[in-house]
């Protein structure tokens, strides 16, 4: 009998193809919203995590300027209170800091043969690759002696290398390039790092900090100090040490605020993932609401259908249909609508999630939990919003239903 009732429901869905499709559309869109929003949320989280991790492991970033309430430096580079002397102080005094490097950067014209490009020149020291996990594609990074002697040596980012040596069939290592007209020997090419910390690390040239200072005005202020803690457990310890070292070095009296800001990678990560969590929650909420609206659409159509088919219900009751047969028929109909909608929605959102994964350059973003959740939710909606119309149909008095015009 169940199979027969299912067949009756199916037939009535097919008899009103357009209406059934429009009804399902609500669920289709709802399911797509659930699956895709979870995919986007996952992608965003992946992206942020990998970007922050790309900053290096256990990294503390010191920036000039006081901290604003949001935890981000206010006057980014405005008052350059950090100097190379601070780097030396941290290196000598702070036991939980393993590596420390200054960063000074500016943009300059770089020429090799007929090729030239405008790119970021970053002055760092020999410890920088340890902090930022820089690996070399060719050659080597500069050594401490080269920093001390302000040697004119350069390490190219992979993108710069491609631009400058485009079409040249030479090994870049050992070649001479000109930065602001001054010749530099290329000693290495860094492996591609991708974007990290929202800057493209591949489109930059690293030179010794001392050389960079000479290239610039000769001032020893730095735009950033990067430090790495000896382990992730002592991140906060290291941060406190750096803070006190810098306060002493900057001769800040107790009570005055820091004239620098220390950014902790762990706190940055948790702040950002907090933001994505809120965004994901928001998206999930919106998609849940759209599923709900889809469900209300089903209920609406089922109520219309019950009214339209009052006579049919009357006939069925007159020849002996029990209440449960009638309510099952209508419940199966709404369940079929919502399930079919869910399946179609899943097919579309599967395709959508693949596109999103391509765009966001992450792995598969189809979460099993989102799929299961949306199917379960659709079934629940089919039942919840089908029950009322089904009961309404089942409770019709046979004679009233038969007389209905």
């Amino acid at each position: 009998m169940w199979i027969e009732i299912l067949r009756v429901s199916w037939r009535s869905i097919r008899a009103n193809k357009m209406r059934s499709f429009l009804t399902m559309l609500g669920i289709i869109i709802g399911v797509m919203a659930v699956v895709l929003s979870s995919a986007i949320g996952m992608g965003a989280k992946d992206n942020i995590t990998s970007q922050v991790e790309g900053l290096g492991s256990n990294v503390l970033t010191v920036m000039p300027g006081a901290t604003s309430s949001g935890g981000i430096s206010q006057g980014f580079g405005s008052a350059s209170t950090l100097t190379t002397a601070d780097v030396t102080a941290i290196q000598q005094q702070d036991p939980d800091v393993k590596y420390v490097s200054p960063v000074v950067s500016h943009t300059a014209q770089v020429v090799y043969g007929a090729n030239n490009t405008n790119t970021a020149i970053e002055g760092t020291n020999e410890q920088y690759p340890e902090i930022k996990n820089v690996t070399m594609a060719q050659g080597r990074y500069f050594l401490q002696e080269e920093v001390n002697s302000a040697a004119n040596v350069a390490v190219l980012g992979s993108q710069v290398e491609q631009t400058l040596f485009a079409g040249e069939r030479v090994n870049p290592v050992g070649q001479t390039i000109e930065i602001q007209g001054i010749p530099f020997t290329v000693i290495g090419v860094a492996a591609s790092q991708g974007t990290s910390g929202f800057t493209n690390q591949d489109d930059a040239i690293a030179i010794p900090i001392t050389t960079e200072v000479n290239l610039m005005t000769g001032s020893d202020t730095v735009s950033q100090i990067l430090a790495s803690a000896t382990s992730s457990q002592v991140m906060n310890q290291a941060q406190l040490e750096i803070e006190s070292t810098l306060r002493v070095a900057h001769q800040l009296t107790p009570g005055t605020a820091d004239d620098f800001t220390i950014q902790n990678q762990a706190t940055l990560l948790s702040t950002l993932s907090g933001v994505t969590r809120v965004l994901t929650l928001l998206l999930d909420g919106i998609s849940a609401i759209s599923l709900l609206v889809g469900g209300i659409g089903i209920m609406n159509i089922m109520l219309v259908s019950v009214t339209e088919r009052t006579r049919e219900i009357g006939i069925r009751k007159a020849i002996g249909a029990r209440k449960s047969s009638i309510s099952t028929q209508f419940l199966l109909e709404s369940l079929t609508l919502s399930l079919a909608g869910a399946l179609i929605g899943l097919i579309f959102s599967g395709a959508g999630a693949m596109v999103a994964a391509r765009v966001m350059k992450t792995g598969s973003l189809l979460s099993v939990s989102a799929i299961v959740l949306s199917v379960v939710f659709s079934i629940a909606i089919g039942i919840v919003f089908g029950v009322y119309p089904a009961r309404k149909a089942a409770n019709l008095k046979p004679i009233d239903a038969l007389r209905f015009e």
Binding site: A321, R322, K323
Partner: protein
């Protein structure tokens, strides 16, 4: 064996706003197995209301109704559905077939609700359609059939579950005189085969075919006449 239908002091009131209409006003009536009864009377006299009570489509305001030993007042909604399904076959004036559904499927429907297996259902539905002379129209939908053919389908549907009672409310009301004749002949055949038939009509030539005529007026039984001179009905006095 007790009578098939026993009705005592049956009252059915309709309340419309602050007005109460007594459609049935104390009806007493007994129908034995194998009878062919015509209920007649002017329009509005309560014939259809009585048929709805007898068919368990509607419940009385007061009074007693026993069909085949079942006290209808004591039955639940689902039990009433089962009584309609197993004991009663309906034939309506406007046929009341499911549209978009073939004649065969329409006839199968009562058996579906009776839980008859699909194969047997098909078989019995085909036999019933053959019985009403529609063997060659089984796969047509109602809108592809004439009025007379549609009424045959609904008669096939009414008798397919072997009910103890066939109820027909103005079964020929929507048919021309020629088709009326055919349908009445069919009812006579069914009666001859032992079926109990109660039929509502306001046409004398239809009533004449029955073996007993009950006349309604203003919700009451006005007269109840049997025709024992005609073959088939044993003389019976209440």
């Amino acid at each position: 064996m007790s009578a098939l239908i026993e009705i005592r002091d049956l009252v059915r009131e309709y309340v419309i706003g602050d007005q109460t209409i007594r459609a049935l006003d104390g009806v007493n009536l007994t129908v034995e197995r194998g009878e062919f009864v015509a209920i007649m009377g002017p329009s509005g006299s309560g014939k259809s209301t009585a048929m709805n009570m007898i068919g368990c489509l509607d419940l009385p305001t007061s009074g007693q109704y026993v069909i085949d030993g079942f006290h209808v007042a004591s039955l639940s909604e689902d039990q009433l559905a089962d009584v309609r399904n197993r004991k009663i076959g309906f034939v309506f004036q406007n046929f009341n077939l499911l549209p978009k559904t073939t004649a065969l499927e329409n006839v199968e429907l009562p058996m579906m609700y009776a839980g008859v297996p699909a194969r047997e259902r098909r078989q019995r539905a085909m036999e019933a359609l053959e019985r009403v002379g529609l063997a060659n129209r089984m796969h047509n939908r109602p809108n592809e059939l004439s009025g007379g053919q549609q009424q045959r389908v609904s008669i096939a549907r009414a008798l397919v579950n072997n009910p103890v009672l066939i109820l027909a409310d103005e079964p020929t009301g929507a048919l021309d005189s020629h088709t009326t004749e055919e349908i009445l002949t069919l009812f006579e055949e069914l009666h001859a085969q032992g079926n109990t038939i109660v039929l509502v009509t306001h046409e004398d030539e239809v009533g004449e075919r029955a073996k007993r005529i009950i006349r309604f007026r203003d919700g009451k039984v006005e007269s109840d006449t049997k025709y024992p001179q005609l073959e088939g009905v044993p003389p019976h006095v209440d």
